[in-house]
């Protein structure tokens, strides 16, 4: 079978000169299917089995649980808002199908736009497609609210990949995290689609001052047909009003308004921990993120230093705020800050991006710690938007080279001092 596949690939190889773009795409898929037969030339004769593809794919693997839960949670939040199927497993098929219908287009648009740009630039530069977008493309859907319009998403991805990466020279050269750049683009260009209380629960619209579910379109009707045939529950026509006292606000928004008491009035601690709360698609479930983090630390792909330092940073700042206690939000017990918002997701998957993080081990401690501190400051003290990890990580991305600079300077100074001591 391997031979047949190889033969097939050889037969369909497009001409490199005539159609460079096609050849680049071909090369990308070919090297995806087969590791090339290149051998070592000068230097070492044997090479480690790890390569960038494997490294990147392990991050994507770690994200799979977040994808699964994210898909479910889109549906769960939708039906939760109108009071239907309150049990976790009630209407599971509806919740999952609803989530899939939301998340698949986001995933596809992200990859078509992002990979298209990657392939184009690779063919222009005349080298292979690099793997960076594997992770970026897997992260972007998880960072978005479920109802993000596709055209905004496409713009954001294009902006991030072109300005954030290709302008700097491709994978490994970028200054800031690409996935976060895509999100921050939406955040500043189209803030109403990614901030506020109305965007985190999917499929609600305001009619005559009351929120109700939007009409279910053709795709839903198609599935209804199938479910009907099996005798299962169906989506129906839509237009159901939300339950009394419904709010689409995230715990953080509530916390900003009225502190911990207001949060627990709406969301239980266990809901926040397990992730049955509104939010960006992939960031809500804390245990699954922690599992992913353990997987990444265990395989040695992501830096545990950054994660640990980040946790310390949050705890430290949280304690300071507790002691300060100027606003109700500051008095939220420090350890509950880990339950709310996207800190864990950000520190595990975003902050540990090796290209944009500090590249020295000492630098990683400082980098992670300050992400924790700055993120908490933005979360708690920013009046407009009670969440800070995106901005904190982007800020520290910019400062990472500076941190490294001082770590290296210290190393150089140590060497110079040693030389001076020896000369005496």
């Amino acid at each position: 079978m391997k031979k047949a596949l190889l033969h097939f690939f050889e037969r369909i190889e497009p001409d490199k000169k005539k159609s460079p773009l096609l050849h680049t795409a071909y090369d990308a898929f070919f090297t995806f299917a087969f590791t090339p037969k290149t051998v070592t030339t000068d230097g070492v004769h044997i090479r480690d089995g790890i390569d960038l593809k494997r490294t990147m794919v392990y991050v994507v693997l770690a994200l799979q649980l977040c994808y699964l839960f994210g898909t479910y949670n889109i549906g769960y939040q939708h039906f939760h808002a109108i009071g239907q199927y309150p049990g976790l497993l009630d209407g599971l098929h509806l919740k999952l199908v609803y989530g899939l219908i939301k998340i698949l287009p986001i995933f596809i648009v992200t990859h078509v736009v992002g990979l298209g740009i990657e392939f184009y630039y690779a063919s222009r530069k005349g080298h292979g497609v690099e793997e960076g977008f594997l992770v970026t493309g897997a992260l972007i859907p998880l960072l978005m609210p479920p109802d993000i319009p596709m055209w905004i998403l496409a713009f954001a991805v294009a902006f991030a990949v072109i300005i954030g990466k290709e302008a700097f020279g491709g994978t490994g050269m970028n200054i800031v995290n690409i996935a976060l750049l895509a999100r921050v683009f939406v955040f500043f260009a189209y803030p109403t689609y990614i901030a506020g209380d109305e965007v985190w629960v999917s499929g609600l619209e305001k009619v005559n001052g009351v929120y109700q579910t939007a009409a279910y379109g053709g795709v839903y009707q198609f599935f209804d047909g199938i479910f009907n045939a099996w005798g299962w529950d169906t989506f129906g026509a839509g237009g159901t009003a939300v339950i009394d006292a419904y709010t689409g606000a995230t715990p953080l928004a509530l916390g900003y308004q009225g502190g911990w008491e207001k949060i627990v009035a709406t969301y239980s601690v266990s809901d926040m921990w397990w992730g049955f709360i509104p939010g960006s698609i992939g960031e809500t479930s804390k245990p699954l993120i922690i599992l992913g983090a353990l997987f990444l630390i265990g395989t040695g792909i992501a830096s545990w230093r950054i994660m640990v330092a980040g946790v310390f940073g949050v705890a430290f700042t949280g304690l300071l705020f507790n002691a300060w206690g100027m606003t109700p939000f500051m008095e939220v017990p420090w350890h509950y800050h880990f339950y709310m918002g996207s800190f864990l997701f950000a520190i595990v998957y975003m902050a540990t991006d090796p290209v944009t993080a500090s590249s020295t081990n000492k630098g990683k401690w400082i980098y992670g710690f300050f992400i924790g501190v700055v993120g908490m400051v933005i979360r708690v003290m920013n009046p407009a938007y009670p969440e800070g990890w995106m901005l904190a990580i982007l800020l520290l991305n910019v400062f990472a080279p500076l941190i490294d600079h001082y770590v290296l300077e210290a190393n150089m100074r140590r060497r110079a001092r040693r030389a001076k001591a020896a000369a005496q």
Partner: protein
């Protein structure tokens, strides 16, 4: 010292703060300002304690330094080091000895290790001296022989035009049968068909007790052993007029499938000791010996009983046996320093020159690798023919023959010859095959540092390795990977970037002078992005050398 001190401060402070935070959570609404004041007071108290601890700790360190006791490797901190708490117990032979335990590094465990027994049947008929082995000499050296000349072992074959004093001598006696030329008429190798019974050029070695350093140097230059000395930085043949700060010798080799030097020196202890005595005469500094502290039993008495040298013990994975790593820990190379290094078998050749008055280049060579029918040790001479050594021993034809180890050796044709300093031949499989989803679900186990493979679960396992790159070259992406296998206070990735950017100041500051290719080779093996680190480092070293 400083760093650990800070951790010692931060941890208790953090715990205290955590306590404060915890204590107040159940009672919201209560005034918190008291706790805040207490917290600040506690922090102030901790800072005072910290200062006292730090000052006393530094005083200890200063006192230890004044007495010269800090070199012994003992811990003069007020706190026990992690290592001391969790380290395995020292074997008895190490008690009171200066020991460096290097935690970073990696042993690539390969199949095809040679058993400790010399196969006396394997002989090489031809031997060659390869000018390209000597860094920095002109590609077309001045020949002193021609095809058909009869030479004795120790007769000069050629010399470099810029350093005519350094003679490159015939490793064996016999007839010059070929002078092979490569590109641009560069001399590739000078091939000698060896006599059955070796004829040695007679030497009258100077008496070490009486002769001056100049006389000694003149003798070494003339006798042909001078090129066996290498100078760090840059890894070049030292200039005759230079005097080294110190001389370093590593007595164990941790590279994959490397020969066991304890076995190699068996019966040659006198010559080794004599070689050390000669080296002691060449430097105003000291001769340092790096000893192997990995085993439960001490290494060969030839090394442990060596006289007139400073001995330091090293324990750790590869590259703990590299002399460059040992220099870094014993007495690092600073800008302007020149130190010499020498291999164990070269020291024996040097010693034999004085004990027996002849240029004896006998080499015990390990033939190793999974593609050999019978990995073994052979006793031959410097520059032996690979086809003779490997005759009838190769498993297949699709193999790569390496003079040296898999990390730093040179790819040779089967008709090639052993390189000047090499005491090892490794044969591995060529890896020019496509692998279906090889990056995700590889078809075979392979050596790796990555825990994305199950290798870390089988600590004793040995692997077959081939020359496949297992991936394509990429820009530097993953960080912290090189530091993991380089037991030096050095940032390899940033150094590489400084070299690529041609930033001399940074290159020097980040310690390029302390490195040689063999030290960085393991980083190159581990590199996710498949970067040619040894090549980049050599570029940088060449740039530095031109500057100086």
């Amino acid at each position: 010292m400083m760093k650990s001190g800070i951790i010692k401060l931060v941890l208790p402070a953090f715990l205290l703060l955590a306590q404060i935070g915890h204590a107040q959570t159940p009672a919201p609404g209560k005034s918190d300002s008291n706790w805040f004041v207490y917290g600040l007071a506690a922090i102030a108290l901790l800072i005072v304690i910290y200062i006292i601890v730090q000052v006393s700790e530094n005083l200890m360190a200063i006192e230890a330094k004044r007495l010269g006791a800090d070199k012994s490797g003992a811990n003069f901190s007020l706190f026990p080091q992690m290592r001391e708490l969790f380290d395995t117990k020292r074997p008895a032979y190490l008690s009171g000895q200066p020991l460096f335990s290097l935690r970073r590094g990696f042993d690539i465990k390969l199949e095809g290790e040679a058993p400790s027994q010399i196969n006396t049947k394997v002989k090489s008929a031809t031997y060659a001296l390869t000018p390209a082995n000597f860094r920095g000499i002109f590609p077309i050296p001045k020949m002193e022989v021609e095809v058909g000349s009869i030479v004795k072992a120790g007769d000069p074959l050629f010399h470099d035009k810029s350093q005519p004093g350094i003679k490159y001598a015939a490793p064996v006696s016999g007839e010059i049968v070929a002078i092979n030329r490569g590109e641009k008429r560069a001399i590739k190798e000078v091939v000698i068909l060896a006599d059955m019974d070796m004829i040695y050029r007679e030497f009258k070695a100077p008496d070490l007790g009486k002769c001056t350093r100049e006389e000694l140097v003149a003798f070494l230059l003339d006798s042909g052993v001078w090129p066996m000395i290498r100078q760090r930085p840059f890894d070049v043949t030292p200039a005759p007029e230079d005097e080294p700060r110190d001389i370093f010798i590593s007595t164990f080799d941790t590279a994959p499938l490397a020969p066991d030097l304890n076995f190699v020196v068996e019966g040659r202890g006198d010559a080794f000791q004599k070689g050390l005595d000669v080296l002691g005469k060449l430097t105003a500094g000291k001769v340092y010996l790096g000893l192997d502290a990995r085993g439960d039993n001490p290494p060969s008495a030839v090394f442990t009983q060596a006289a007139g040298v400073e001995k330091y013990w090293f324990r750790g994975k590869h590259p703990a046996g590299n002399v460059g790593i040992q220099i870094h820990h014993i007495k690092p190379i600073n800008t302007g320093d020149k130190v010499w290094v020498m291999g164990v078998q070269e020291v024996i050749t040097l010693g034999t020159l004085f004990t027996e008055g002849r240029f004896d280049t006998t080499r015990v060579v390990a033939l190793a690798g999974a593609e050999l029918e019978a990995p073994q040790y052979v006793k031959t001479y410097l520059g032996a023919s690979l086809s003779d050594l490997l005759k009838g021993n190769l498993k297949g034809q699709h193999v790569r023959i390496i003079s040296g180890d898999v990390l730093t050796g040179e790819h040779k044709a089967e008709s090639g010859f052993l390189n000047y300093w090499d005491d090892q031949v490794t044969v591995i499989e060529e890896g020019d095959y496509f692998e279906l989803f090889g990056w995700l679900i590889p078809g075979s186990l392979r050596p790796t540092l990555s825990r994305t493979y199950p290798n870390f679960l089988m600590p004793g396992a040995k692997f077959r390795a081939d020359s496949n790159t297992h991936g394509e070259k990429r820009a530097f992406v993953v960080t912290g990977q090189y530091e993991q296998v380089l037991p030096m206070d050095l940032y390899p990735q940033h150094l590489m970037k400084a070299i690529l950017a041609g930033n001399f100041e940074k290159m020097e500051g980040l310690g390029i002078l302390e490195l040689s290719e063999e030290d960085i080779a393991l980083c190159e093996f581990a590199c996710t992005s498949k970067q040619p680190l040894q090549h980049i480092l050599r570029q940088g070293l060449d740039m530095m050398r031109e500057q100086s």
